[in-house]
């Protein structure tokens, strides 16, 4: 009897997860896959074919857009890591007690406002008549308004800013689990800061680095608002193409094919990243 209840309890607790997976992830994806296999042959007439996937390869523009999006996302991930790593070491190892909590909170505070508002904030700062432009004129570096918005660098700034927290949290967690005495032992045995970093801290933090990188990469790749608002006329991002196909062009079939390709290609990139660094997904989840 108790075994029965235990098993029942197990299924009841599992139910929300199963429902979540089935209703919100698996079924929509199957539906989208079927949609992507339909080809419009006439007014309101459709046939099953791979035509939508072929478009992706016959029109180089779409592949290039994906490559551009992926490269920019990898770059954004790398920059985020480079900025977040020292910050995380400071929070996890050097800052103590209250200061530690305050610093952690400071990383969190920007996320109290919506992404739209944060991006608007960057637009106010960077636009031609904006604060940064006025400041450099006032200092006297330039004598006319400068446009900082609507280029790839502006997109990069926005992406890194948006993803910072998702890199800092896993890094701080893994670094906190590293015993300080191990670092001290490294120094005692004659290691320099560089070799302690290379031989002890980075290997220990590797799972945290990896999980942070995966999250940041996926967030950047799937970002929609930041590239569009900060990127202006050259912003073309893969998610924007999916939105355009669905909403502006009424071409759900091609949009679904794009969506599926994004899923497949981004999974492939994450897999490649794991292989390259010798990590497994299970290890990064610890």
């Amino acid at each position: 009897m108790t075994q029965m209840t235990a098993r029942l309890g197990f299924f009841v607790l599992l139910m929300p997860l199963l429902l979540w997976l089935a209703l919100l992830i698996i079924i929509p994806h199957i539906d989208m896959f079927l949609l992507s296999l339909r080809e419009r042959v006439g007014v309101g007439e459709y046939e099953t074919s791979f035509a939508n996937y072929l478009i992706l390869f016959t029109e180089p523009l779409y592949i290039w857009t994906f490559v551009r999006t992926a490269v920019m996302s990898v770059l954004a991930t790398a920059i985020t890591l480079i900025i977040a790593f020292p910050v995380s070491i400071y929070i996890a190892k050097i800052a103590q007690g209250r200061l530690q909590q305050i610093l952690f909170m400071l990383c969190l505070i920007p996320f109290y406002v919506s992404e739209l508002v944060r991006t608007f904030g960057w637009m106010i700062l960077l636009r031609e008549t904006g604060i940064v432009s006025n400041f450099v004129q006032w200092v006297g570096i330039v004598d006319r308004p400068v446009e900082f918005l609507y280029n790839d660098a502006a997109i990069m700034v926005g992406l890194v800013y948006t993803s910072m927290l998702f890199m800092v949290v896993p890094l701080v967690t893994t670094l906190e689990s590293l015993d300080n005495s191990v670092i001290e032992a490294g120094y005692d045995l004659g290691g320099s800061t560089l070799s302690v970093m290379r031989e002890i801290i980075i290997p220990h933090a590797a799972p945290g680095i990896m999980s942070g990188c995966i999250v940041v990469f996926m967030l950047s790749l799937g970002n929609y608002l930041t590239p569009i608002m900060l990127g202006g006329k050259d912003s073309l991002w893969f998610t924007e193409m999916i939105y355009n196909q669905f909403i502006v062009r009424f071409n759900w079939e091609l949009g679904a094919a794009f969506g599926f390709m994004l899923l497949v290609l981004s999974s492939a990139i994450v897999w490649a990243m794991l292989r390259l660094t010798g990590q497994t997904l299970a290890k990064t989840m610890e």
Binding site: V43, L61, E147, Y150, G232, K233, D234, V248, F250
Partner: protein, 359 residues
């Protein structure tokens, strides 16, 4: 246990009766899918006071309206307001609307020429799907002091004298406007996909050449307002109302009809295929087309309506701006959008993607 159920049952029936009594005999909820400004709060309240129907307003644009109705196969809303050129194609393709019973509409309230033109453009298989509501044009909004001498037509936005200070949308009105300004007639080529593709190819190379001149492609009306108001952009393709709104703040900025002709649009009333409150929908149409109500909508949206006689109630300042932007010749030169046949969007979409990706 049993008595508990009985108790519940009773309370529910009491609630149900109460609800019906409060709502009145035939009051319905009208779920309206429309544009910003087309259903101002005061009009919604007046409508409720007079008919008892409540109105739930969802603000959207042409593409999203069609995408939303397509997702539910015409459900979720009882009345929608796409432009008249966007009814025939989606109806043939997706079947998301239902025919309008013209006898239930007070036709005397409409400007007759606009009513018959819209009805003709939205007739599918012998049945009428749309009646006109609000109309306006798109053309050029500019700072006349900075760009008035240079920019007379869409293609002048590519003039080196205004380099880095112009903007337009990357959407189909831009393609159509540039085609007209380049001396071609895209509307005449609507029925011939090959000819239309030919025109679009020429527009594409023009837009790619023009790209260095553009500051950014604007996405929403507010974004454009910000760009023009701050002086970062001196000339842009935009709607007439956008120019008139800015004119109120800065007399130099206004809407100018381009020499090749402003593009005229008419937003309509259509009934979604699975709409559930047709009575309320017809009541709403007849209500908002009354001249004094139509004038309120003109004040809120900035555009004139197809209501006959509403001009008499319109604000003087708006009338003055309208007359300054549209001398009689410019009105005759307005190019009204004919219905878009299905399939053209794919051609335009590929062109727009290539322009956006061009470096």
């Amino acid at each position: 246990m049993k008595s508990g159920f009985k108790f519940l049952k009773h309370t529910f029936s009491v609630f149900a009766i109460g609800a019906v009594a409060v709502q009145g005999a035939n009051a319905e909820t009208l779920r309206l899918l429309t544009w910003g400004g087309y259903a101002p709060d005061d009009v919604v309240e007046m409508f409720k006071a007079e008919t008892g129907h409540t109105v739930e307003v969802t603000k959207s644009n042409n593409e999203e309206m069609i995408a939303k109705l397509r997702a539910t196969r015409g459900g979720g809303f009882d009345l929608a307001q796409p432009s008249q050129d966007r009814i025939l194609g989606p109806q043939l393709e997706f079947g998301i609307y239902k025919p309008i019973d013209i006898s239930r509409i007070d036709q005397g309230q409409f400007i007759q020429s606009m009513l018959s033109a819209t009805m003709a453009n939205t007739t599918v298989e012998g049945r009428v799907y749309g009646v006109p509501h609000v109309w306006g044009t798109s053309g050029l909004v500019m700072d006349t002091a900075a760009a008035g001498d240079i920019v007379k037509d869409y293609t002048d936005l590519c003039d080196p004298a205004v380099a880095g200070k112009v903007s337009y949308r990357l959407k189909r009105p831009t393609l159509i406007g540039f085609a007209f300004a380049m001396g071609m007639d895209p509307f005449a080529a609507y029925s011939d996909e090959a000819a239309y593709k030919d025109i679009m190819d020429k527009v594409e190379s023009k837009l790619i050449d023009c790209k260095p001149n553009v500051k950014t492609y604007w996405g929403g009306g507010d974004e454009l307002m910000g760009l023009v108001r701050s002086g970062e952009v001196v000339a842009s393709m935009a709607w007439d109302t956008g120019g008139w709104k800015l004119n109120a703040d800065n007399p130099n900025i206004t809407f100018v009809a381009p020499t090749s002709g402003a593009l005229g649009w008419i937003d309509t009333f259509v009934l979604p295929a699975k709409g559930r409150a047709d009575d309320a929908a017809y009541d709403w149409i007849n209500f908002v087309m009354r001249p004094e109500i139509a004038a309120k909508i003109t004040a809120a949206a900035g555009n004139f309506t197809a209501s006959s006689g509403a001009d008499a109630f319109a604000e003087e300042s708006l009338k003055a701006r309208y007359q300054a932007s549209f001398p009689a010749v410019a009105i005759d030169n307005i190019k009204w959008y004919p219905p878009v046949p299905g399939g053209l969007e794919a051609i335009e979409g590929a062109v727009l993607d290539r322009v956006k990706a061009a470096q």
